[in-house]
Amino acid sequence: MKLSSKDLLGIKELTKDEIILILDTASGFKDVLKRDIKKVPALRGKTAVNLFFEPSTRTRTSFELAEKRLSLDVLNLSVTTSSVVKGESLIDTALNVQALGADFMVIRHSSSGAPHLIAKHIDATVINGGDGINEHPTQALLDAFTIKERIGKLEGLKIAIVGDILHSRVAKSNIYLLAKFGAEVRLIGPPTLVPEELEGLGVRIFHDMDSGLDGVNAVMVLRIQMERQGKGFFPSTLEYSKNWGLTSERLSMADKDAIVMHPGPMNRGLEVASDVADGPKSVILEQVTNGLAVRMAVMYLLAGVRE
């Protein structure tokens, strides 16, 4: 089986079978990453450009390392050094990068739909590394990989996503992915950050943390962005944390084998208490490791689309 599109723009665009293929392939790469020599020659001679229009350390380094493990030549372009500041259009920037010989372009952009726009105008493979408040597909894939590895399946699980759903591309991608597998998705947070319309996607919405966490198999805690404070989404970080911060006491509402996830970077003591983040249920650092394997799988499979 092959993926059907040359690009990975979002989870929305993938079928369940394609997601299973990516997760299975990532399993193989995870074994590779445990070896003494972690590099494979799979994509030797090809070039990847990480085109980041928004600051990112975690996602960019994860992609960069995944690319190097696949023997790709890697170029990192970030907005501060790009010609965008000189007024160049997004399409022109992408065409110039393509003219340098890029086979893969990983795009991170603050505008929703920016990778889609680029994909329409270039032949190289485009991978969405997070666009605006739309999607962050590789994060959802690595989250699914982590859940599957820990719990053994996705089907039928109860999974809570806590926090700023409205502005979270991570949450959106996870919702689409988990829905395709028939998991029960619960969104928890204040009504200002958890829009009711999302019930149209089959999720359940909770504003009370304890009832939302009741019996869940996994809790995904989202980062609360400090800049939301003072915009009327919640009165203060203190009040947010009192109502929706994940503490070990609250976590006791969840299934006894529940896992705790966070896409990073964490605000300790705000959305998640330190003892939870560092506790036995936390799989936060495993997520980081799994991210490498999943991104290797994605690039490897996308390269296969062209063969």
Binding site: K12, S89, L90, I91, H109, S111, S112, G113, A114, H116, L117, D131, G132, I133, N134, E135, L166, R169, K172, P195, E197, L198, G200, L201
Partner: protein, 433 residues
Amino acid sequence: MKILIKNGHIIGPSQGIDGIGDILVEEGKIKEIKMQDEKNKSRESCIMNRESDARTINAKGLYVFPGLIDMHTHLREPGYEYKETIKTGTMAAVKGGFTTVCSMPNTNPVNDNSSVTDFIIRKAIQEGACTVYPIGAITKGQKGEELAEMGIMFSEGCVAFSDDGKPVMSSLIMRRALEYSRTFNVPIISHCEDISLSEGGMMNEGLLSLTLGLKGIPSEAEEIMISRDIALANLTKGRLHIAHVSTEGSVRIIRDAKERGINVTAETCQHYFSITEKTVEGYNTNAKVNPPLRTDKDVNAIKQGLKDGTIDVIATDHAPHHRDEKLKEFDRSPSGISGLETALSLSLRLVHEGVLTMPQLVEKMAVNPAKILGLNKGALKIGSDSDIVLIDANKEFKVEAERFISKGKNTPFDGWILKGMPVMTICKGKVYE
């Protein structure tokens, strides 16, 4: 030059004309109208065989309308000539069946003083294919702070005032504008949007905006301001005209206000009764418009509002943009649809669907705009300007944006097959076909 239009189906609602007849045009004026004798319908012709020196146009099978009037056009000149000019915009208008357009003031510089008004009028006389009436800004620089010199702009030729695109957020300034404008008996055209509520929004708010990751604009951003402006119209007895109505709630609020006898009129645009927010899918910047495209229930309510008279006017909100601007990220792309060359055909769908009768359509696109703006236009009567458009209501054609005369090729209707189009426009004494 004499022109004789023979055997067309003449629709002139202002004079109660609806039937087969002939129109004679001479020296840019309508000289004579003669309807076919009811008793002798079989006879091929009725008048003016004696007019052998006239250019004769056989309008058999065609409708003959008064030239259409667009009371909401962005001609972009001065300042944004790369998007559109008075020349190209009026040529597009004539192709679309319009003989009069009213240009919105959001040019650069803003039309907030008589020298800009004067420039537009002179340029339109020199280069315009059709008649142009400028709309002046309500406030200086469209900033919503200080009233612009409405009286001077009015005497220079402005027919209405609007801070289009930049709603007057101060209720006090809006009150003053509605009061002061009574001196000249001109309408204040309000772009109703509570910008503190719509802040950063790019499309209709709902599940679709969430799944596209595009910040939404709730219907209430429009409805709150319509409610406010209606309250102020009631307070001031000024003449309020609501621009581009897009929501079900807005139609309901305006209907209630009219029932209460408040002096308010309203327009919608062809896209608000033709397409929904779904057109935005795939980050289609040609479907980015403000107010945003809404949902099926809004489309149906707009149609109902047109049918029952709540909405008086169909205006184009012709908003041409350069190709490069629409080839940007969705949030960086400007709002607007190039509308002059598709508005009539899209509106004719309402007639084909049975929402409007042909005379009602002419009321919405010619008679009512003239009435609201106090123009001596929009009527087929002896002595009036020979602004006439001939329509083939059944001719099918494919919309090809690249072949638009307008510089703005930004349309979500590219590739659509539409039924009914203008085949000839007579304007300023010239025949365009």
